[in-house]
Symmetry: C2
Subunit: 560 residues, 2 copies
């Protein structure tokens, strides 16, 4: 019996508390209508308690790559832990089902929960491959079926965007700071919130999304926009101009004047003067004002009027003034134009300023870039050369622009102990029947070699053993492997049986696991161009059984 808030009470030996899913809109009604009609039909046929096994898996890696980062598990488990129908939800269902449906079904719906369900899954953040189930749900047919749509909704986008983040991290390189900036372009509010969470999981450092920071403890970053810069008309608007020195004690009475002084000092230096003439004064006023508000965290958006002729020199004047008072500016943000050119020219100018005014470290101030960046832009910038330290990535990252959907499916593989198969003319859509055990076999130096699926009752492979790994569908594709290590892929994340369940790790731990898994992969599987597929296999026994079942279920054709 599962009580409110996912507390599972069994024989008195265990109690499990789990929060409901992050988004309160994730309820038992967040599902496809056919789950409800099927539930009725199962109930009507007395099949509601048939013991079912469903596999949740993907058929193809996204973005033309050869790997996927699995994410969304915690939300699925929290959903299952709190699964139930409220009275008003049942009233709505009564109103949309045909009037021929019997009242007994609705009384039954009130009673169902996930206490008889067991959920096995790979750890969230794992690097995963097509056909190998990410989640296995075992339980009464009706309830296990009802979980389908919501589980898919929670896993598909989470895994897609986590994978996208991992791919962006790979091409940007380890030493760059990556910020997720996607909220405004996300597919709806929690497209934004989920993106922030799962991009962090996949390797990003921080987000602009305040609420994601609050909910998940992700570092939050942000400075200012073009509107801030253009909201200033001139210096007259800055009334309060005093700024205390960083060390305290002394006060600079007119920081605006100090800034103007630094601008004219810069104009006096021939090497600097070559780069600009009159800068935009309303922009300088905006920068001054921002520095007065954030003397310890001054960063300027420099492309409202003209990056090199106005934004960068104005920034430097303010930064030099701050430096006089013992502060250190952070740097600039570029949000348009040729990021390679502008970042290189800005860096040169910073170095010139450092040299002319002997300000140690000025050349290394941070350059943030954030204009429609994607994997390809990052790669092109790397090839052209650039001086960007931090990338703010939005639209392409969070909407997964180059492939906005992952096609995880949820398929019945066993019912009452009988394996089931779904056939298709498309080989890629045939499901692998049976309740399975799955393992990752490692080779020398701990490199993952192949994933292996075997039947529930087969003996698990052992390190040092010579193991036959077969392609599930193609007879000629097979190989012997002698693993140095064998890793069982599933843990039980939900169960009310004695022995309980694996604790859900923190987001930090999930991220750490993900980074370790990504780092362990052979680089040819991970590269963007023509990556090598990671091998996924079945045991000889399972291979034989799949093909026996296939032939027995498929009708024999007749060519005419």
């Amino acid at each position: 019996m599962v009580k409110e808030n996912g507390e599972v009470v069994t024989d008195g030996t265990m109690v499990m508390n789990l929060e409901p899913p992050t988004n309160p809109m994730v309820t038992s009604l967040l599902t496809d209508m056919y789950q409800i009609t099927m539930a009725y039909a199962y109930w009507k046929a007395g099949k509601q308690n048939d013991r079912a096994v469903f596999d949740l898996f993907h058929r193809k890696n996204p973005f033309g790559g050869e790997y996927t980062v699995f994410a969304g598990l915690e939300e699925c488990i929290r959903f299952a832990a709190n699964y139930h129908f409220k009275e008003d939800e049942i009233s709505f269902l009564r109103s949309v089902l045909p009037s021929t449906c019997e009242e007994g079904f609705f009384s039954y719906l009130v009673t169902i929960d996930c206490s008889d369900v067991e959920i096995y899954a790979m750890p969230e953040g794992s690097v995963v491959f097509p056909k190998v189930p990410l989640i296995r749900v075992e339980g009464p047919l009706l309830i296990a079926q009802l979980l389908e749509t919501t589980f898919l909704t929670l896993v598909n986008y989470a895994s897609l965007v986590a994978t996208n983040a991992a791919r962006h991290r790979r091409v940007a390189g380890k030493d760059k700071i990556l910020l997720e900036f996607g909220l405004r372009r996300a597919q709806g509010p929690d497209g934004g919130i989920s993106a922030s969470k799962y991009c962090y999981l996949g390797g990003f450092d921080a987000t602009s999304n305040v609420d994601a920071g609050r909910r998940f403890g992700i570092p939050v970053k942000g400075t200012n926009s073009h509107a801030f810069v253009s909201s200033f008309m001139g210096f007259d608007e800055i009334i309060e101009r005093s700024l205390p020195y960083a060390e305290g004690g002394k006060i600079c009475e007119d920081f605006v004047h100090l800034t103007q002084l630094w601008l004219s000092r810069m104009q006096d230096k021939p090497l600097l003067r070559d780069n600009f003439h009159e800068t935009n004064q309303s922009e300088l006023a905006a920068f001054c004002s921002y520095a007065l508000a954030f003397p310890t965290a001054f960063q300027a958006l420099v492309d409202t009027y003209d990056v090199l002729r106005s934004g960068v020199p104005n920034f430097c004047a303010v930064a030099l003034a701050l430096h006089d008072l013992g502060y250190k500016a952070l740097g600039i943000r570029l949000d348009s134009g040729d990021l390679s050119y502008f970042s290189i020219e800005t860096r040169k100018f910073f170095h010139l300023v450092e040299k002319e005014f002997h300000v140690v470290g000025f050349g290394k101030l941070t350059i943030v870039a954030s204009n429609d960046i994607n994997e390809a832009t990052l790669d092109a910038l790397n090839k052209q050369g650039h001086e960007v330290d931090t990338f703010g990535i939005g639209t392409h990252l969070v909407t997964c622009y180059s492939q906005p959907a992952l096609g995880c499916v949820y398929k019945l593989v066993e019912i009452n102990g009988h394996p089931r198969i779904k056939l298709s003319e498309d080989l890629n859509k045939v499901t692998i029947p049976c309740k399975k055990q799955c393992f990752r076999l490692y080779g020398r130096e701990g490199v993952p070699l192949v994933d292996l699926m075997i039947g529930e009752n087969e003996t698990p492979p052992q390190p040092g053993e010579r193991i036959l790994c077969r392609h599930p569908f193609v007879e000629s594709k097979r190989a012997y492997v002698v693993p140095t290590r064998v890793e069982p892929l599933y843990k039980r994340y939900w169960s009310s049986k004695p022995g309980g369940r694996e604790k859900l790790p923190s987001l930090e731990d999930v991220k750490k696991h993900c980074m370790q898994q990504l780092a362990a992969m052979r680089s040819d599987h991970m590269r963007a161009l023509n990556p090598t597929p990671f091998k996924v296999s079945v045991s000889g026994n399972l291979y034989d059984f799949i093909h026996y079942l296939w032939l027995s279920e498929a009708p024999v054709g007749e060519l005419q």
Copy 2:
């Protein structure tokens, strides 16, 4: 002063109640961090009450088309109506802002709301074009700025997916039923819920998403899946086999037997027998069972084993048995393979059955298709010929696969009565300054000709007048128009001033408005291939002013 739940109390003459946004995660923290840092900087500079005007607009229509359907307005207004910071939200902000920030700011944040804000917008569901503001926000700089990210999040995806739905409707044709099936592939839970709402707005008939049905009153549809079909092993499982006749009174004691009888009758007819031999019996058992549960709404998914050799004949056997009892089956669903071929062959088979057994109407049973359908597939099916009545469209529709983001922006165009411009080397990114009035000018037969933006104080254009319409940036592009009708594009949807605000229409009325707007457009603007751009223009006065401001703000370059 806005109280809890958006109740605005002014001088006692008006009270406005608005529900908060649909998704409870849409709060004042669902924003970019830079909005908060800017808010602090505005407050620190004493600029929080500067009177600002922001325009929300898009720069380019999506999907290579020449129109966009505007959606998301109601959610924005509900957000604004309920805008406030809670104590725990402010505590979080205090923890992420630098410790140098003054406490007075946080005390100030507690007090802010949208009672001094006015929001003008086009009606939701309007057909809209780049550069013409969809929403204009006027109010204190700090609060108007704070609305940016959330408004964009609420409008961008809503408008994108509504436009996508309208495009799918256009190519499918008016007589087809279109079902939105996207929840499982959507970008997160409310990517799913918003998709259902805005696809309905853009021309879809129903959704599979139960919760969207409950929340928005959208018709909900759904039957069964492959798992249902493959959960049956055989007829032994069907215990309760009796079914009352449609008219009541009589009862058929063994509906399974009746179905088997009809299958053998079909096998006795040479014309039918040519099409199939032994059908899959577990599939037939599943169909029987579903019909027993839903005798008034029997629909079968026919591609679990083999569409034409098993699924369709099995469906017909059950449908004929139902017909014996006075019921009428709905039809079949195809979820894989060549939809043109399978739908045509299925239709032929239905007609053969009608003829062989004299079942009037059997030939016209519904054929639903639902396998990775998009605009291009619909177009190809139209060209090849098909017999599909209803399309279930998921992934491509809800994730807007061919372009998953719309780039609406929110730009400051006026501050304290001074027009502001944002320059860019990319002409397309230059903003049109000033608080503007916008009109749609109509030609003969009520066809929209051009959108015209003019300054706040210019005299609105009049029908029958000869009006100069200029391209905002390209000097040579201009035209005289004599409109038969002039439609002001904005209504005031939020205000606490006397005169109040426009009532938010129901979803049904928004949909109706959208359908009327789409129907009124000249078809060359709407076609998929090389559509004609709809013209967007400014008055002569506004043109001159834009270019005056541009020159005065842009620094003069120097070629070296």
